[in-house]
Assembly symmetry: C2
């Protein structure tokens, strides 16, 4: 399964850290790319590229000012669009319909998501139906799509962690 | 199982939104309380209280300037301390030892976590060993502890969502 993420409506400085978390979760949980719309932010791109340089992965980040254009293009490329929103259908209920898809674009919103996004999405999906965090919703969704295999991913970075009960053990190769 | 969360080293304005997301994930994923250390932030407390007023739940937020004091007190109260850190042991490996515990304090860090936190924790636990997000790490950990039951929680709020394939359907009671 190929998974890409689309982050809607990035705003500066408000979303700097949340969008960085969204991108790093996408990378660590098995997505291959993130595109973001809203305001262009070379700092966000640099942060993500630096993490990839040190910690590995083929993950890419790119900007497109039109989220709708990205969604329409990905539909033409054969992607199924999963839009995460607290108003959507419960993830466990729709997961059986999403799992057989080959290519997924997972869309995570910001404050106000335009109506057209809901219409263009193949699935509007909620993680609990409570207000919480697009970072958490993305993590839980990718965890389910990956069936927990994000715990075994080897991103072949220059740096990697050797799990430790008390300390900090970083391997450099 | 009773679950509380401790958020370390809250900094203003840098952590405003991330700490809010941490608190809302704690609430939505079945924790009963969050304590935060670092800088006092009445805006953070107000945001979380407003969500609880509208969306329900017995969830509480409180501030303590000493994270170590909170951890020591919770240990005396019979809590097992699970500190989330990318350097720790993999969650799936330690989950069987954590699940039988009655009372858990899940600790989520900020930039630099002092040595003593690692020492005081009963478990230092990582969610993938990759740099990503304390919001995501908390969500995945609570999801595993709750065994996915966060999807069925009824927080009995004035507002709740009726899941919907395309629209926004909010019930007011």
């Amino acid at each position: 399964m190929q998974i890409e993420v689309l982050r809607l409506g990035h705003r500066l400085p408000r979303d700097e850290r949340i969008s960085t978390h969204v991108a790093l979760v996408a990378r660590a949980f098995g997505a291959s790319a993130i595109t973001y719309s809203g305001q262009h932010d070379s700092g966000l791109e640099l942060s993500v590229k630096r993490i990839c340089e040190s910690w590995g992965g083929e993950f890419t980040i790119s900007y497109d000012k039109s989220a709708l254009a990205v969604m329409k293009q990905r539909k033409r490329d054969g992607f199924t669009i999963v839009h995460l929103t607290m108003y959507g259908l419960a993830l466990p209920d729709v997961l059986p319909d999403i799992m057989p898809q080959d290519k997924l674009l997972v869309v995570v919103g910001s404050e106000q998501v335009p109506r057209e996004i809901y219409e263009l999405a193949d699935f509007n999906v909620s993680v609990t139906g409570q207000p919480h965090s697009e970072v958490a919703a993305l993590a839980i969704t990718l965890d389910r799509l990956m069936q927990g295999k994000e715990f075994g991913l080897d991103l072949k970075g220059k740096l990697s962690i050797i799990p430790s009960a008390k300390g900090k053990n970083v391997r450099e190769r």
